[in-house]
């Protein structure tokens, strides 16, 4: 536990530093509720990915294209990789042109705790996405969201 806390402190210190300004923010058990508050009354897309997930890469490329078209797309990206993987996550985001997206990364050594805070039913399969409507009713999707599916969802959003 002490080691975990130390790691977390180090992680927070690093993420707060100016050189890490665009590093993913730490995703904790409190983050899902914080996101609901931030997007109160608005739809948003919460998408989980990993540097270890081949199927996530194509989906992320699609998100990058969409973000170029619609910079205000309410899209939250969360890497489920362990805190120690921060450099690899940041490098992958940079390659995909997604460094400026709303990026988060799992900040706990026990991913099951964070998954539980998001959705008790989610067993960790990736990619995993949640499409929230304005009332925050959500649709869970396992597997890559096609660009077409995201565009269909976008059409249901108010401009």
């Amino acid at each position: 536990m002490r080691r975990l806390l130390r790691g977390l402190c180090l992680w927070l210190a690093l993420s707060a530093g100016p050189a890490w300004a665009d590093a993913p923010k730490p995703f904790t058990v409190a983050t899902p509720a914080a996101l609901q508050q931030r997007f109160a009354g608005q739809p948003y897309l919460l998408a989980f990915w990993s540097i270890d997930c081949p199927h996530c890469q194509g989906e992320l490329e699609g998100f990058a294209r969409l973000l170029r078209e619609r910079p205000k797309l309410p899209l939250v990206l969360v890497a489920v990789d362990a805190p120690a993987q921060a450099p690899q996550v940041a490098a992958r985001l940079a390659e995909l042109g997604l460094s400026d997206a709303d990026n988060w990364q799992f900040a706990e050594a026990r991913p099951e705790r964070l998954r539980f805070a998001v959705d008790r039913q989610w067993r960790g399969e990736l990619p995993r996405s949640y499409l929230f409507d304005a009332a925050h009713r959500r649709q869970a999707v396992s597997g890559a969201l096609s660009e077409a599916a995201v565009r269909r969802w976008l059409e249901t959003l108010p401009d």
């Binding site: 490098a91 008790r120 396992s142």
Partner: protein
């Protein structure tokens, strides 16, 4: 003190690996493994009882596979190192070293090592013919050396027969080079008839397996049987069952209709009882059913799927064991605070089941539960961060 020493050595290794490889490849998976394992010792391990009822365990520390033995399931001998030269050994979730002990006491180990390119690896093998005092120099079992995926090995041993199956990207690579699409990976085999002294050529068993779910193997009255997640038409990732001697024996083992453009990282479990009935467990989020399921299979007939586990507690990673007429299921749940191992028992070859029982909990990180037979009785082995390795004799 010993732990500090290893941590220091590991950090040194990881640092060296990163420094060396950073400029060349931005995501060097080999360096990534070392860095990850430097932070936390992987929890994923392999375990097996030998014919004398002694428990053997194999785990990874500092890129080295270590093997130790226990007479009582609690106290272990000083570990023996399998690979003198550290390797980037995969030891996480579905991808972990495998250990089997044949009747004559020979120890067999397979594992996969991560290569620099993401999602690639080689399958490695080593054995001990002197009761675990020393191990043969590891060899690579996949007979192509391409930097592609040869990963998720599984091991099946009986007498002098040693069968290794793994997920292989050769066909996928060839298809992609020809500009074609290829769903999933392929299931490949290597077999030894001389107790692991030598292996025959690699054999491609079937194309379009899921690319990152563990394989489950079991002997059914001398026939090597396999259960794995297969990519069926339309990208449906349900389970397939086959006799590994004959690709034409492949049959669909679950019809959950899980269409997923992704990898569940969640394979199944397989056991055979001594009358030749197969017992299957698996996870799905298909259109037709969701959660953990059990069914048994006699030639030409499957029982209807039986659901178990609590979906609201992430019930997952099931295991199955058959001992005589007894069938035992075990799986993992998480209640928001603690990880828990649950079990279910049947005394009549899977027809009737007792109530689910919570066997153990842990408030830290955990490995999957492992079911093993010891002198015809069911045992459960569970490795957790806080409690270490624990073993229980189960009462059916």
């Amino acid at each position: 003190m010993v732990r500090i020493f290893w941590a220091a050595l590991l950090l040194g290794l990881a640092g060296a690996g990163l420094a060396q490889d950073m400029p060349a490849a931005r995501h060097d998976m080999a360096a990534k493994w070392l860095a990850r394992q430097a932070v936390a010792r992987p929890l994923a391990l392999a375990a097996s009882f030998d014919a004398k009822g002694r428990l053997w365990a194999a785990w990874v520390e500092g890129g080295q596979l270590r093997v130790a033995r226990s007479e009582d399931g609690r106290h272990f001998t000083w570990p023996v190192i399998v690979n003198a030269l550290p390797e980037t050994i995969a030891a996480e979730g579905e991808s972990r070293p495998q250990l089997a002990v044949s009747g004559d006491g020979t120890l067999h180990l397979v594992w996969s090592i991560a290569l620099a390119k993401p999602y690639t690896g080689h399958v490695r093998y080593s054995r001990s013919t002197d009761g675990g005092r020393s191990f043969s120099a590891p060899i690579t079992l996949n007979d192509d050396s391409a930097e592609i995926s040869h990963r998720f090995p599984a091991l099946l041993v009986e007498g002098r027969r040693v069968l290794v199956a793994w997920l292989d990207a050769r066909e996928r690579q060839a298809a992609q080079a020809a500009g074609e699409k290829f769903a999933g990976a392929s299931l490949y085999l290597a077999e030894s008839g001389d107790g692991g002294a030598s292996f025959g050529p690699n054999r491609r068993f079937v194309a379009h397996s899921c690319e990152c779910c563990r394989l489950a193997l079991a002997w059914r009255q001398g026939a090597p049987m396999a259960l794995w997640r297969q990519v069926f038409d339309g990208g449906v990732r349900d389970f397939a069952l086959a006799d590994l001697r004959d690709p034409a024996s492949l049959q669909r083992a679950s019809d959950d209709d899980w269409r997923i453009d992704g990898c569940p990282h969640h394979g199944g479990g397989l056991a055979a009882d001594d009358q030749g009935r197969l017992h299957l467990v698996w996870f799905t989020q298909g259109r037709l059913r969701q959660g953990l399921f059990y069914r048994h299979a006699d030639p030409g007939r499957f029982s209807p799927p039986m659901k178990f586990g609590n979906d609201a507690a992430q019930a997952g990673h099931p295991a199955v064991l058959a001992t005589g007429r007894n069938v035992t299921l075990a799986w993992l749940e998480f209640d928001g605070q603690t990880n828990q191992v649950w079990t279910l028992h049947s005394r009549d070859r899977g027809r009737h089941w007792g109530p689910p029982r919570r066997l153990a909990t842990s408030a830290g990180g955990v490995d999957y539960p492992i079911l093993l037979a010891r002198a015809g009785k069911p045992w459960l082995v569970w490795h957790s961060e806080r409690e270490g390795l624990r073993a229980w004799a189960l009462t059916p």
